[in-house]
């Protein structure tokens, strides 16, 4: 993973893990690699990884078992909520930008539908 040095690294690690959890690459209940292993894989400081994981434990996206490790939550409502939060963020950005181009709501919906139709055709 390549980091943007202008953004806090723990934040980028969290974001990467959120996406892997929502996409199912990290399944509910799955054990995460050890903190040091994650740090080696990402080539970042161990304390930075620890900070990212602790925050995700506080957010209840991960659960921590003392001396055993960190696990993705088994509570799928938490994962669904996370998915909504992430997609809401993307939609908000897209909507704001298209709105700034003075597209009406109807034009935005039509443009997205047209885009989906052509991309699905190509596939």
């Amino acid at each position: 993973m390549e980091f943007d040095d202008k953004i806090p690294i723990y934040y980028q690690i969290k974001n990467d893990l959120y996406h892997r959890i929502v996409a199912g690459d990290l399944a509910p209940g799955e054990k995460l690699p050890a903190v040091r292993q994650l740090a080696v894989d990402l080539t970042v400081n161990v304390n930075t990884v620890q900070r990212a994981l602790s925050e995700m434990v506080t957010e209840q996206v991960l659960t921590s078992k003392r001396g055993v490790g960190n696990f993705v939550t088994q509570d799928t409502t938490k994962i669904t909520a996370l998915k909504q939060r992430l997609s809401h963020g993307y939609i908000e950005r897209l909507y704001t930008q298209l709105h700034a181009l003075r597209l009406s709501d109807g034009e935005i919906v039509a443009a997205i539908q047209e885009y989906m139709a052509t991309t699905n055709e190509e596939e």
């Binding site: 953004i7 161990v46 304390n47």
Partner: protein, 239 residues
């Protein structure tokens, strides 16, 4: 949180020339800290004073509360130039010297590190490339189970593969409670490794900040921050 390093009102002159003045620095145990500054800023001298290799400074240096020079030396593992060894020495002979001199030298850690860093310790010192020599110095330094590690420009003039291996070996083998100070004048490639940066300018500590705080407060990377501080784009009242 306990401080592994506490430097108070440290000043050092050499032949009437000021090398360091009024240095005050506290570093919490377990942190990895970049010591940044231009060549000649006093980074190496500061490390030499901490490790009691250079003497005669005013002020105090405490490592795990120990101010006595000899005791400090036992707590610190400092990268050295290996200039004291015969050029024809085998690396395994240098390892044996280290194992004898330092009671905290771990033979197992040395094997793990040399294997990971791909060092053949049958080689002789004068046959090593720049990169392998730096890797060997790192292997020796990290093989000690020290409280504090001082790495003086370990990435200077080496190829990027060796640099990556060294960075990985630091992440892999630095104990959680061990504290590490790494000096450099170029930080981009090690930025993600550093919890904090200390910038030395005009012979003293100009700023000491957490890397993540730099990113969130200024929205810039550690290298840009360093350049801004040196170039005067970021002023003291903004720090």
């Amino acid at each position: 949180m306990t401080n592994a390093i506490e430097i108070t009102d440290l000043s050092y002159r050499k032949n009437t020339k000021t090398i360091l003045h009024d240095v005050n620095l506290q570093i919490v145990q377990g942190r990895v800290v970049g010591l940044l500054g231009e060549n000649g800023a006093g980074k190496t001298t500061l490390m030499r004073l901490m490790a009691d290799v250079a003497k005669g400074a005013k002020g105090t240096i405490a490592i795990n509360q120990e101010t006595d020079g000899t005791k400090r030396r036992g707590l610190i593992s400092f990268t050295e130039s290996l200039r004291g060894f015969r050029p024809g020495s085998k690396l395994s002979q240098i390892r044996d010297v280290y194992a004898t001199v330092y009671p905290d030298f771990s033979a197992q850690k040395y094997i793990d590190l040399t294997t990971f860093l791909q060092i053949d310790d049958d080689l002789e010192l004068n046959k090593l490339s720049r990169g392998t020599r730096e890797k060997f110095i790192i292997a020796l330094t990290l093989s000690r189970q020290a409280a504090v590690y001082l790495l003086d420009e370990p990435f200077n003039g080496i190829d990027s593969m060796s640099r990556k291996r060294i960075i990985s070996s630091i992440i892999k083998w630095k104990a959680d409670d061990a504290t590490m100070l790494i000096s450099d004048h170029y930080v981009t490639e090690i930025a993600a490794l550093l919890d904090e940066v200390v910038i030395i300018k005009d012979h003293t500590v100009c700023t000491h900040k957490s890397s993540e705080e730099i990113r969130s407060q200024f929205g810039i990377g550690v290298e840009d921050f360093y350049e801004s501080v040196y170039g005067g784009d970021i002023h003291d009242d903004e720090l």
